[in-house]
């Protein structure tokens, strides 16, 4: 059972009063929640198929060959075509998601070449990219991937960073000294070059990218944790706990860490933003996830290479700006809510 301390409750109330950050948090939360069920909203698989008296729900099930619906092929059913076909068959019907395209399928027309501009009749609300894939679908799945990437990256970075930073501050002495130097040296390894080298040798997967970025990204948090642990360690309540016979583990986990949590929390939104930008930048440069993974960076690269199709670049730039802006607003609001000084001047 999580107990909310009065302190936290107060911070939360304060956060809520900062409207910009609060609404951004709600918006991002909704977007994240929606992206988790993106298959229900943006997908080339139907939500429901009613065929000869039975109901089928293909969204999350194993793939259904065309033969399952009386078609003559055994690969994945083309539900959009099925919907058209079923219009003349009483009793049979297909319910498609609002955006009836997946992020991977290439959709060519016979009379024109992609990229196709946005058209409501086609349900390509933001048009298609140069391979004829729906831009909105790629944005949505790209968003989910970028957010997942940056949250996982953040978790890993923070676990390593907090552990080492805390240990440096708590133990001090030679351990602290050595690790300071290690971190100084390690921070100077040009991380982008490492990624480039890795990407030219193997095709980076989601997890190799996370690993490489954690290896070169954990240092940031250590400095803050080290200083704040030093600070907390010298406080009377730590001395009191020690006098009561508390073990090191208990002191660190029960006393010091909870008291440094405000630092960690204020950094989270900015780390999320930097994770998203890092992945986008890598994909843009071609060192990120392999094609045809839906990604904002890849869309951005396509958009800038095809300025004659402005809907690609506009969509992705707008999406990025909005998301990063909202994350920044949240960060700003958290920082303010956690600031013990309510006013920077005396009223």
């Amino acid at each position: 059972m999580i107990r909310i301390s009065p302190q936290t409750a107060k911070q939360w109330r304060r956060f809520r009063t900062i409207k910009r950050g609060y609404y951004s948090l709600i918006a991002i939360g909704v977007l994240l929640a929606l992206s988790l069920v993106a298959e229900l909203l943006v997908n080339n698989r139907a939500l429901v198929v009613r065929y000869e008296g039975s109901y089928y729900f293909p969204t999350y099930s194993a793939f259904m060959p065309g033969t399952a619906f009386g078609l003559d092929y055994d690969y994945e059913t083309d539900y959009r075509a099925l919907k058209v076909l079923f219009q003349d068959q009483p009793g049979n019907w297909v319910l498609m998601p609002p955006v009836p395209y997946s992020a991977f399928e290439t959709n060519f027309k016979l009379d024109a070449f992609p990229p196709y501009p946005p058209r409501l009749e086609d349900r390509h609300f933001l048009g298609t990219d140069v391979s004829g894939r729906d831009v909105l679908a790629r944005l949505v799945y790209g968003f989910r991937l970028a957010m997942a990437f940056s949250v996982i990256l953040l978790a890993c970075n923070y676990i390593v960073g907090i552990a080492i930073g805390c240990a440096m501050g708590f133990w001090g002495g030679a351990f602290d000294l050595v690790f300071q130097r290690v971190i100084e040296i390690w921070s100077n390894v040009p991380f982008l070059y490492v990624i480039m080298i890795v990407a030219s040798v193997v095709v980076p997967t989601f997890w190799t990218l996370v690993t490489v970025m954690v290896i070169f990204g954990w240092m940031g948090m250590t400095w803050y944790m080290r200083t704040s642990t030093y600070k907390e360690k010298a406080r009377e309540y730590v001395a009191a706990a020690r006098a009561l016979g508390a073990s090191n583990t208990r002191i660190v986990f029960r006393h010091i860490l909870p008291n440094t949590v405000s630092i960690v929390v204020t950094f989270i939104p900015f780390s999320v933003a930097s994770g998203v930008t890092a992945l986008t930048a890598l994909d843009y440069l071609g060192f990120g996830l392999p094609p045809p993974t839906p990604s904002w960076g890849e869309l951005l690269a396509q958009g800038t290479a095809n300025l004659q199709a402005p809907w690609i670049v506009t969509s992705v730039v707008a999406a990025m700006t909005i998301v990063l802006l909202m994350v920044a607003y949240i960060g700003e609001a958290i920082r303010e809510a956690f600031d013990p000084k309510k006013f920077t001047f005396y009223e």
Partner: protein, 625 residues
């Protein structure tokens, strides 16, 4: 801990020093620029060779009658700017990492003994003025041109050709393909006097093919010191050549510049005169085609190949074209086609099964790709050797996209059930294959093939690598499928691509790892045959076997070349030749020239907003059918 740190620091320092040294070698260096020293005279005793008397009764032939295809109006001078997508890993023409996209430039700084006239397809003199055939149908005698000079001014003599053999057979160059070719294909080179040599091939061949297959380029013996350090020492040295250009400047990672040799000996020769006109040629690294295109539109690159449909149809439009500053040319050619497609590595456990290879071929919707992504501009390549005049097997048709047949083959291979994502399974193994390629612009093509292949239950995972890294993987035979094209040759080359001698070892061109005893036998027979009829028949049989084995899925051919170029580049009356591959390659044909007056006029007009007549050339002189 501290000791480890010191060690770490030390090793870092050593590593960086090592890198510097390897990069620059003993060559004088100023910052990142490398001053290429070509007249390094560390070869103390030049290798010399003994002469053997010439046999009697040789009938010397030459060819000074074929039409000249360069233009007498060509003007010398100017700087030609072009680009490459990645920086070469070495300037050597042989040895590890030398066979990259830049190698075409390197090789064309040197000429061969004779060459093929690009329009008549007859042989014409180059470094040799006359040639004669021995009755054994294996040996050709050459009289060398006494005027030929290395780019450092030294005369080219018979010894340089004999040195080629020593050089190419040396284990120090770490080039098994060359070692083999110059041992088992070219078996002997004999000096008869300082300007006469003979080249003996391993097998009897028709006369034209003797000249072509057993061709030889000289190697500057005063330049190379062959020892175990050769590969490293010669990474960044520019070898003197016999061609019009030499590498004069290298800025690591940025550009390579060629300069025209002063008073080049070829300027006086019938077929070499009025060619290779720009004074300097700078090949700059621009890693992204789209960025390169922007440079081109600004006039910082002089010409741009616009074979790719979206470049031709969408990008090659706009003010610079409408105002007549940039011209467009589409020139149909009649020439062996590069073999573009998917090469399947039979050493891979999945692709070792022929049924899977054939199933895969039927699952590739190349027709749809041609029609949609490529806008109907390209044509389907039929087989590995397509467009080789008589040698191409006219009966072979590429496998069509046919899900039923793909399904039959894949069922037979054991991939009969489908997993929850629709991909075929054999036990716990998914039918997922990796495709390595190196051109980002090809991604839409592969994305379409990938989506269509899913219908057959095959997953293709696309692996886009930098071209050097991709080549490395392919030549080390680490790939499953590679999406690439081999350049064309005059006659089909089966041995290097399909003989078991080249299978299962790195740095050879048998990237499918084909090893079939029956094919080996026929390939050796093909190599040994001296009359054209037999060779053509064997080539047809072999081509059929390649087709049947399904190791290659042919994709497209482009029976024309298309370029956009600034109007100051001028072309001869007939623009290009029957076998032109790139109109604006200054080192290969080099027919165009830069008109400085027109350049000044164009730039001034662009600044003032004046326009010229739009030039949009389509030439069908050599279009077949």
């Amino acid at each position: 801990m501290t000791r480890t740190l010191v060690l770490l620091l030390l090793s870092l320092a050593v590593a960086s020093c090592g890198q510097e040294e390897a990069a620059q070698g003993p060559v004088v260096s100023a910052g990142d620029a490398i001053d290429l020293v070509m007249e390094t005279r560390f070869v103390a005793d030049l290798p010399t060779y003994d002469s053997v008397p010439l046999p009697d009764g040789l009938e010397w032939v030459t060819n000074e009658e074929d039409p000249v295809w360069s233009s007498p109006e060509a003007r010398r001078g100017g700087a030609f700017n072009t680009f490459m997508s990645s920086f070469p890993l070495t300037l050597r023409t042989v040895g590890p990492d030398s066979n990259d996209a830049f190698s075409a430039y390197k090789r064309f700084t040197n000429l061969g003994l004779v060459t093929v006239h690009p329009n008549t397809l007859d042989f014409i003199p180059q470094l040799a003025t006359h040639w004669a055939f021995d009755p054994d149908a294996k040996t050709v005698y050459y009289q060398l041109d006494p005027d030929a000079r290395w780019s450092d001014g030294k005369p080219v003599t018979a010894d340089d050709y004999l040195f080629t053999i020593d050089f190419m057979r040396s284990e120090h160059i770490v080039a098994p393909w060359y070692n083999n070719h110059y041992t088992n294909q070219i078996v002997n080179v004999v000096k008869h006097d300082d300007l006469t040599i003979s080249v003996e091939g391993a097998t009897v061949k028709p006369r034209e093919e003797l000249l072509f297959e057993y061709g030889l380029s000289p190697t500057p013996r005063h330049f190379h010191r062959l020892d175990e350090n050769w590969v490293r020492d010669y990474n960044w040295r520019s070898e003197p050549g016999t061609g019009a250009y030499r590498i004069s400047r290298v800025e690591k990672g940025q550009f390579v510049e060629f300069e025209r040799n002063e008073a080049w000996w070829g300027d006086e020769k019938r077929y070499l005169a009025n060619r290779f006109n720009p004074q300097t040629v700078r090949v700059t690294v621009i890693r992204d085609m789209n960025v390169a295109w922007e440079y081109f539109l600004r006039g910082e690159l002089d010409a741009f190949p616009v074979l790719m449909p979206h470049f031709w149809h969408e990008k090659a439009r706009g003010p610079a074209f409408d105002n007549g500053y940039i011209n467009r040319i589409k020139f149909y050619t009649d020439t062996p086609q590069p073999s573009a497609g998917m090469w399947l590595n039979t050493a891979d456990p999945i692709l070792a099964d022929k049924n899977i290879r054939l199933g895969l071929a039927h699952a590739m919707n190349v027709e749809l790709m041609l029609k949609t992504v490529l806008r109907g501009d390209y044509e389907r390549l039929r087989t590995h050797h397509d467009g080789y005049w008589d040698y191409s097997n006219p009966d072979i048709q590429p496998r069509e996209f046919d899900l039923r047949r793909a399904g039959e083959y894949l069922d037979a291979a054991g991939f009969a059930t489908r997993g929850p994502d629709g991909i075929r399974m054999r036990g716990n193994q998914r039918l997922a294959l990796r495709v390595v390629y190196s051109t980002q612009e090809h991604t839409p093509r592969l994305v379409l093939l990938r989506e269509e292949a899913r219908k057959a239950g095959i997953e293709l995972n696309l692996q886009l690598l930098d071209s050097s890294a991709a080549f490395k993987q392919i030549l080390e035979k680490q790939h499953q499928i590679t999406w690439m094209a081999w350049g064309a040759s005059l006659t089909p080359r089966f041995w290097q691509h399909y003989h078991s001698d080249n299978a299962g070892k790195p740095q050879t061109n048998n990237i499918t790892n084909t090893a079939d005893p029956e094919m080996d036998r026929l390939i050796m027979e093909y190599r040994a045959a001296s009359d054209k009829e037999t060779r053509v028949r064997l080539a047809h049989t072999l081509e059929q076997m390649v087709h049947d084995s399904g190791v290659f899925i042919p994709t497209y051919k482009i029976p024309y070349t298309r370029e956009a170029y600034w109007r100051w580049l001028r072309l001869p009356e007939h623009y290009a030749s029957r076998t032109t591959e790139a109109i604006f390659n200054p080192l290969v044909e080099g027919l165009f020239w830069i008109d400085q007056d027109i350049k000044a006029e164009t730039l001034a007009a662009r600044a003032r907003g004046e326009t010229f007549e739009v030039v949009n050339i389509t030439d069908t002189t050599w279009r077949g059918e």
